[in-house]
């Protein structure tokens, strides 16, 4: 019942299944999966890697690419019937579905095993997910679930659905006083994504100790530095990041001899052991910092302090 045929040329122009994978970079070149066609998929204008099958009365176009131990699955499910129909997409890869998320909550219809949703009459549904498993073709199994009105009598919205729709109410990390929200520091063992929660668990009753004004300058945090001190600390932190990035660059694609020199300079293998994680953490922090810096710069530009007028009024 499952028929496979090659895609017609041009059939998928502008189609997410045939488009190049966004966000793929050279990093994946280091982890080429043999026989998978990772780069072929990306440089494939004819879209030969996209395949179309028919299953359960749906037309399914799919494309699987592998990157860094992950498979990225892109599918378009077409419903040629003149009525809306529910569809169940089951992941055939050997791993849990990493579904698209919004506000940290998987999009409606997704679960660990796949997706369930409605395809409008004569229309299509575009889906994509990742999976920590090698690619399998076809990556999904499609089954029909009848007309939507029977199965779609949706139960009351779950808290998760409400969070997805309305947005998490959690205050932004920058607003939270405490170690996690202060200016970046040079200490390398604090994960940039460390939330106050794990730190709080170590303490007594969290709500009693966290966030109180007396808390700000205590504990492991030195007393609030002056602006000048903060600036110096920021520069020192950037210098330390730069040193790590330089080391990372020296080790990237280096010959054995060059790599040996670099590792020796860094102080031995132990010194570069956690370099990838540290650099990833650095990158995340820098990105957050850049975003905030840009916003602040824009706001600073917008200001217009009427000093003359204020002096006149004083």
């Amino acid at each position: 019942m499952t028929t496979t045929r090659p895609t017609e040329m041009g059939a998928f122009v502008g189609d997410p299944v045939a488009d190049d994978a966004p966000g793929d970079d050279d990093a994946s070149g280091d982890h080429d999966t043999p026989g998978d066609g990772d780069s072929a998929a990306d440089d494939d204008p004819a879209g030969t890697a996209a395949t179309e099958i028919e299953e359960a009365g749906f037309r399914l176009r799919y494309r699987v690419t592998a990157a860094d131990g992950l498979s990225l699955v892109r599918i378009v499910v077409c419903n040629p019937a003149p009525v809306d129909r529910r569809v169940r997409i089951d992941n055939r890869l050997d791993g849990a579905v990493l579904a698209p998320r919004r506000e940290g909550v998987p999009e409606a219809g997704w679960d660990d095993a796949g997706y369930c949703g409605t395809v409008p009459a004569g229309d299509s549904l575009t889906l994509g997910y990742a999976c920590e498993a090698p690619p399998v073709r076809p990556p999904v199994a499609v089954s029909g679930r009848g007309r939507p009105d029977e199965a779609d009598a949706d139960d009351a919205p779950s808290p998760a659905a409400v969070v997805r729709r309305l947005g998490s109410p959690a205050p932004p990390r920058d607003a939270v006083p405490g170690p996690a929200a202060t200016a970046p520091r040079g200490d390398r063992d604090r994960s940039p994504s460390a939330l106050p929660a794990p730190a709080a668990e170590a303490g007594t009753t969290a709500s009693e100790t966290e966030g109180s004004p007396a808390d700000e300058g205590s504990a492991d945090e030195p007393s609030r530095p002056s602006e000048h001190g903060t600036h110096a600390a920021a520069v020192a932190w950037l210098d330390s990041v730069e040193a790590r990035v330089e080391l990372g660059e020296r080790l990237t694609g280096a010959s054995l001899a060059a790599a040996t020199d670099a590792v020796d300079d860094a102080g031995g293998l132990a010194a570069v052991d956690d370099l990838p994680e540290t650099l990833a953490a650095d990158a995340a922090r820098l990105a957050a910092l850049a975003e905030r810096a840009e916003r602040l710069a824009a706001r600073a530009d917008e200001t217009d302090v009427p000093v003359a007028a204020l002096e006149r009024l004083a």
Binding site: S158, R165, P169, P171
Partner: protein, 222 residues
Amino acid sequence: MILAVAGGKGGVGKSTLAFELAAALDGLLVDADLGMADLPTGRGPDLHDVLAGRADPREAVRDGPVRILPCGRSLAGARAADVARMGDALDALDRPDETLVVDCPAGMRADAGVPLALADACVLVASPRRFALADAVRTRELARELDAGLVAVAVNRTVDEPPLEAFERTLGAPATAVPADPRLGRAVSTGRPVVRTAPSSAGGSAVRSIADAVRRARPGRA
């Protein structure tokens, strides 16, 4: 039964009304204003801890003139709280013979939406000024989408004759004017609900009439 006391806008007196309604209904008050709690707290676990998975909701309930599950006031606590856990927390507290009165936060984010999604019914608190109607309408729409039946509108802190009809027409539920009464304003901080200390006052009877509307909405329960 879970009753959400909502109202889009901040500062319209949701917490006061929720406190009074919990007193009138002899219910359990849950302060769900994760970011800006203003009901009395105290030492011990609170809703932040419950939603962070650090405390059992039943252990966090405090006795007093009105039984209350308070909410922490720290931003760190608010950040650690996962509002999606609210369903389990309220389920653990919900008893057939008691009304859980959930004081919702202002705004239209998930912390306001989740209690509405979990509630069997809701009361909207609005300010008598006309511009306040917009927020009430938005919350009303959200409550409708999330299946929280609107049982009453409290037009709070009225001084003159409020345009009750406009509220009723627009929001589609009976509106009750709750007069501006300093005793109502102090009720939360003094722990003396007007509906008990002065039940026959205009404020007390307004609260009682809203409480009656809530009782009538109870699905086949005492």
